[in-house]
């Protein structure tokens, strides 16, 4: 009985499961794809995205004080639990005096990718203030 289980296990390992498999090359490519979007986000973060020549990095050098690890969290000023993307849009509309981005736009995802990258390694702390 034991012997049969071992054989079954070996057989399972020997059969490729293509959907779950990836190579070092894949990992490199995926990271590169992420970094491309992150770098676009870095450029956007350092550009005037609104109407008053103010850019995100003026208050948040290296994305500091954005605390992406704490979202979603309750924003007393909005009266609800909000996401990082909603706060990015709040900044675009208020300190930058501009227009909000669509929440699923490439620009929004790029900004999020940059903000998270600068905060990498920090443990998740949803809801924290």
């Amino acid at each position: 009985m034991k012997r049969i289980s071992v054989w079954l296990l070996l057989a399972a390992l020997a059969v490729p499961a293509p959907g779950d498999e990836f190579t070092e090359e894949d990992l490199k490519r995926w990271k590169a794809e992420y970094m491309k979007v992150m770098e676009r986000g870095e450029k956007l973060f350092h550009s005037p995205l609104g109407s008053n020549n103010v850019s995100c990095d003026q208050c948040h050098p290296n994305g500091a004080n954005t605390h992406p690890e704490t979202y979603p969290k309750f924003q007393k000023q909005l009266g609800k639990v909000a996401t990082l993307r909603e706060m990015i849009n709040w900044c675009l509309q208020n300190p930058l005096e501009g227009k909000p981005l669509a929440l699923d736009s490439d620009e929004m995802i790029a900004l999020e990718a940059y903000i998270h990258w600068e905060r990498r390694g920090v443990p998740l702390a949803p809801g924290k203030h």
């Binding site: 350092h46 008053n52 020549n53 103010v54 990095d57 003026q58 208050c59 948040h60 050098p61 290296n62 994305g63 500091a64 004080n65 605390h67 000023q77 709040w90 900044c91 208020n94 300190p95 005096e97 600068e118 905060r119 990498r120 390694g121 920090v122 203030h129």
Partner: protein
């Protein structure tokens, strides 16, 4: 309607005049030494970053900060002997920005002592400032205290030469988190001048140094850093009571290195995070500082303000005027031999918004 708005404005102004400014008569010379000179106060306004948008248009938010500081300094009672403008009046060193700043500051009643910041300097290497506003380094005496103004935002010649246009040079110096930035310098020529200037003074004379960048090293990636700071400190250490007041960092920050007390002044434009909030690089933020409250972006003026300084016994008491927060007072403690926050220095007294991460 217009008359009513006018009266409302007058009412607010009248109220302001009776509120925080009477505090400046209180001095906190904790310890022993009596004043050996006449006590006096001065105000410090800094880092307004006026941003030109074209024609006569400027970024509203930053204009508002400077206007508010000017209005409040004019309400100080007793009146300050002078006002220090701590640099970064402009955002990109443009004449339009400096002229606009001069116009807003022309409403100030006391005379101004000028310190240049990197945002004022790197478009034309300080030429317009020097022609129209002030020398870049100088010294003066006031009621027994020796004041020295340094241009601490110089940098290395090879960095200056690497940019194809003045605009690119300015933009690259203006970006705080620029990986292609360059650390600030006081430089050999100014160090020689400083040594000669200080040589004329006895070690008992109180000395106050005014610079834009901190004359010590806090965080190189954001240029909270002066590369030759130790050489300046060496020239200052022989004085018994010596204080450095600087702008640039847009936050409550204070430190003590040997005999020298350091205070950062508030910005009128926006607050910077403390470098402890950027986890990818190590920092040397002074342990002594009780941080200001984390700013609430929904209150435009939160985390900004200006400073009232009063001199008693040759040390400075720094009254941080924080617009959306309780004001903070930091004074030199003669027993501990370093500055202390009069309310929050004890770690048990600190409040949650002072915790930055």
């Amino acid at each position: 309607m217009k008359r009513r708005q006018f009266l409302k404005g007058m009412g607010l102004a009248g109220l302001g005049a009776t509120l925080p400014f009477s505090l400046v008569e209180i001095s906190f010379a904790m310890g022993t030494k009596p004043a050996e000179h006449e006590s006096f106060t001065f105000a410090y306004i800094s880092d307004s970053h006026l941003t030109h948008l074209g024609g006569t248009r400027f970024t509203r938010n930053f204009d508002q900060g400077l206007r508010k500081a000017v209005m409040e300094v004019n309400l100080m009672d007793p009146k300050p002997d002078f006002v220090v403008y701590g640099g970064d009046l402009a955002q990109l060193g443009k004449r339009e920005e400096l002229d606009h700043g001069l116009e807003l500051l022309s409403a100030l009643r006391p005379p101004i002592k000028w310190v240049i910041g990197e945002h004022d300097f790197y478009l034309d290497m300080g030429r317009y400032w020097e022609d129209k506003i002030s020398p870049l380094h100088y010294s003066f005496d006031h009621k027994g205290v020796h004041f020295v103004v340094l241009n601490s935002i110089l940098t290395y010649e090879d960095w200056i030469a690497r940019w194809p246009t003045a605009e690119e040079r300015m933009a690259n110096m203006a970006r705080l988190d620029n990986p292609h930035g360059s650390p600030f310098l006081v430089g050999e020529a100014q160090l020689r001048w400083l040594a000669e200037d200080l040589a004329k003074y006895d070690a008992n004379v109180p000395v106050v140094v005014l610079s834009h960048s901190p004359l010590y090293k806090i965080f190189k990636p954001w240029n909270f850093w002066t590369d030759d700071a130790e050489q300046v400190q060496k020239l200052l250490q022989r004085f018994h009571r010596v204080t450095v007041l600087h702008g640039h960092v847009h936050q409550v920050l204070y430190n003590q290195i040997g005999n020298i007390t350091f205070y950062a002044m508030m910005a009128t434009a926006w607050p910077w995070p403390y470098p402890v909030s950027y986890v990818q690089k190590p920092n040397q933020v002074p342990k002594l500082t009780v941080f200001m409250n984390r700013a609430d972006p929904f209150h435009e003026r939160d985390g900004t303000g200006w400073d009232i300084l009063d001199l008693d016994s040759g040390t400075i008491t720094n009254h941080y005027q924080l617009w959306m927060n309780e004001n903070r007072t930091v004074a030199f403690d003669f027993k501990l031999k370093h500055p202390v926050d009069l309310k929050y220095q004890d770690p048990d007294k600190r409040i949650p918004p002072q915790f930055h991460y």
